[in-house]
Amino acid sequence: MTNPAPDLSVADVTKRFGGLVAVSNVSLSIRGGRIHGLIGPNGAGKSTMISLISGALRPTSGQITFAGADLRRLHPASIAQLGVARTFQQAAPLLGLSVMENVTAGMHLHYRSGIASVVFRLPNMRREASAFAAASKQLLERVGLADAAEAQAGTLTFGKLRFLEIARAMAMRPRIMLLDEPAAGLNQPESERLAGILRGLRDEGIGMLLVDHDVPFVFDLCDEVTVMDSGRVIAAGDPDSVYADPVVREAYLGSANEAV
C-alpha cells in the first residue's frame, strides 16, 4: 500500500439541537488504508456524524482532529482542502453542469492558476485545464461513466448518480472519504462494482468512513465496524465480533436481517 493517510480521530463528540441529542459521546477513528463501517438504525445519528466531521455541523462538545488540525473550527471548504471528501445521502450532483464538469469541479482545489492566468490564457492555465480534463476522463472511466461524460448531471439515473458522487469525491484526491450510503439503491452488480472501487481506494492509502444500511455490503468490505443507536456507540471493533455481538443483534441486526 502506498503511504496511508493520517488518522482522523473523533473523540467524545456530542451534538445537541436544542433539546434533542443527536449524537452522544461518540468516539471513532478513521485510519488511512482502512475502511471503517458505521451502521445503525435510522435516526441513530450516522449522517449527523458525517456532517460533524465534514464541518457542515459544529459539535456541541468533543474533539475532531485530522493531520494535526482541529476540524471543529474550520469551514467545510477548509476541511475539504485538507483532504477530507464527503458524499451526500441524497444524491447531490451539481445540476446544470455536465457529468464531466461535476468531476472536474471536484478537482477545483488543485488548480493553481489564478484569474490573471485565465484572462490572459497563460500557458500554466492551459496546461492545468487539459491535464485536469484528462484526469476527469480517467476517473469517469474508472467508475464506469465514461460514455455519459457530456450528459447533463440531472438526467442521470439514480444508480449512475451514486457513481458520479464517488467520482467527484475521488477527483478531490482526498486522504479521507466520508461515504453516506453510497450503495443505497444500487443493484447487485452495481454494488459489487462499487465495492471494487472502494477496495482500490483503500489500497491507495485512503481512509474511509462508510455509512450504509446494506449489512452484507458493509461487513464484507470493512476492516472495522462501529454500531450506533440513538446517538450512542453500542459496539465497535472488527466485523466478526461486532456481527456476533448480542447487543448489536438485538438493536439492529435482528430487524435488518428481517428486511434483508
Binding site: A77, A80, F88, L94, A105, M107, L109, A129
Partner: protein, 328 residues
C-alpha cells in the same frame, strides 16, 4: 456563455452583429450610430450582470451603484481635480472595486432574499444620495462639461470615434466574460450558483468566489459608467434611478440569462425598438415594465437563454378559471 463554441446559433448571431456594426457607420444615420453607442455601453453592464446573475447566481440589484461610482467618479475627478480622463476612469474603477469589497464582506452572509433586498436598497439609496448630496454631485442639476477622452492625441469627441471605442470595450468585456465562464473559475461560480453547500464540500471557498464575481462585475459596470458620462459629457442622478435598475434586468431577461449574445441583443432590442415606434415616449416605461413581467412569466429564458422553455399558459391562470367549482 459556457461552451459557446458549441452553440452555432449564437455564433451566427454574433457574426451578424459584428457585420452589422461594421456596416452601420457607412450607411446608417447619425441617430443610428448614437443609439448603438448607447447600446454598447448598456450591453457592457448587462454582460457584467450576466456574470453575476446568469453564471454565479448572485441576485444583486446594485449594478447601478457601481455605474454611478464610475460616472460620478469620472465626472468629479476630471472637473474638480482636473485629472486626465483615463486616469479618472481607472481610479473610479479602483474605487468601485473597493466599494464592492466592502459591500461583499458586509453582506457576505446574506443569501437569497437578503442579498436581493440589500442590493436593491443600495441601488435606490445611490439614487437618493445622488439627488440629495448636492455638495458632491450637484444634486438634480448634475455635473456637466466633462472633458473628453483622448487616445494618442486624437480627441474622442465625435460620434464615430466613441462608437468604435464603446464597441471595442464591449468586445473586450465579452471576451473576458467568455474566458472566465469557460475556466475553472467559471465552473466554481456555476457550482456555487447551484448549491453553495455542495461547492463548499468540494473545497471551493464560496465567500471568496462570491466576492470575486461581485468585484469583477463592479469594475465592469464602473467602466461603462465612466464611458457613458464621457460620451454625453454629463453625469446626473437620473442615469441611476429605479427605471434603469429594472431596465438592466429586462435587457438580461429578454436576451437570455447565461447566454453569450443575450446581453447585446437584449440591450439593442430595448434601445432600438422604442425608437422605431413613434409616439411611445410617454408610454415607454409602462410598455417596458409590462414586457418584463410577460417575459418573467411566460419565457424566463429569454431569446437565447438555457433551460426553461416557454411556460404553458394554463399554469399562469388561477385554478378557479379553469376548473369551475373546484374547492380544496
Amino acid at each position: 456563455m459556457v461552451d459557446f463554441a458549441r452553440r452555432p446559433v449564437e455564433m451566427a448571431v454574433l457574426v451578424l452583429i459584428v457585420a452589422g456594426l461594421i456596416a452601420v457607420p457607412f450607411g446608417g444615420s447619425r441617430l443610428a450610430v448614437y443609439s448603438l453607442t448607447i447600446t454598447a455601453l448598456y450591453a457592457i453592464v448587462v454582460i457584467s450582470l450576466n456574470l453575476l446573475l446568469g453564471l454565479a447566481g448572485q441576485a444583486s440589484f446594485a449594478q447601478t451603484t457601481f455605474m454611478a461610482i464610475g460616472g460620478y467618479g469620472s465626472a468629479l475627478l476630471t472637473t474638480r481635480l482636473r485629472l486626465d480622463p483615463w486616469l479618472a476612469l481607472m481610479l473610479a474603477a479602483v474605487g468601485a472595486s473597493l466599494f464592492a469589497c466592502i459591500i461583499g464582506v458586509a453582506l457576505w452572509r446574506l443569501r437569497g432574499h437578503y442579498l436581493s433586498m440589500a442590493t436593491f436598497a443600495l441601488a435606490l439609496g445611490t439614487y437618493s444620495f445622488a439627488n440629495a448630496a448636492a455638495w458632491l454631485t450637484n444634486g438634480t442639476i448634475g455635473i456637466s462639461g466633462i472633458p473628453p477622452l483622448e487616445i494618442g492625441g486624437v480627441t474622442l469627441d465625435d460620434a464615430l470615434s466613441f462608437y468604435i471605442l464603446s464597441w471595442g470595450c464591449c468586445g473586450i468585456v465579452l471576451i473576458l466574460a467568455l474566458l472566465l465562464a469557460n475556466s475553472h473559475i467559471g465552473r466554481a461560480w456555476r457550482a456555487l450558483a447551484t448549491s453553495p453547500e455542495i461547492a463548499a464540500s468540494l473545497g471551493i471557498d464560496v465567500p471568496r468566489y462570491r466576492l470575486l464575481v461581485l468585484v469583477i462585475a463592479a469594475v465592469i459596470a464602473s467602466v461603462s459608467g465612466s464611458l457613458y458620462v464621457e460620451f454625453t459629457s454629463f453625469a446626473g442622478p437620473d442615469l441611476y434611478d429605479i427605471n434603469i435598475v429594472i431596465t438592466l434586468f429586462l435587457m438580461l431577461f429578454v436576451g437570455g440569462r447565461g447566454s453569450t449574445v443575450g446581453p447585446i441583443v437584449g440591450a439593442g432590442f430595448l434601445i432600438i425598438v422604442p425608437q422605431m415606434i413613434s409616439g411611445l415616449e410617454r408610454y415607454q416605461n409602462l410598455v417596458f415594465f409590462t414586457l418584463l413581467l410577460v417575459v418573467i412569466l411566460v419565457r424566463p429564458s429569454g431569446l437565447f437563454g438555457a433551460a426553461d422553455d416557454t411556460i404553458p399558459l394554463r399554469t399562469l391562470l388561477p385554478n378557479w378559471i379553469l376548473l369551475p367549482g373546484f374547492r380544496r
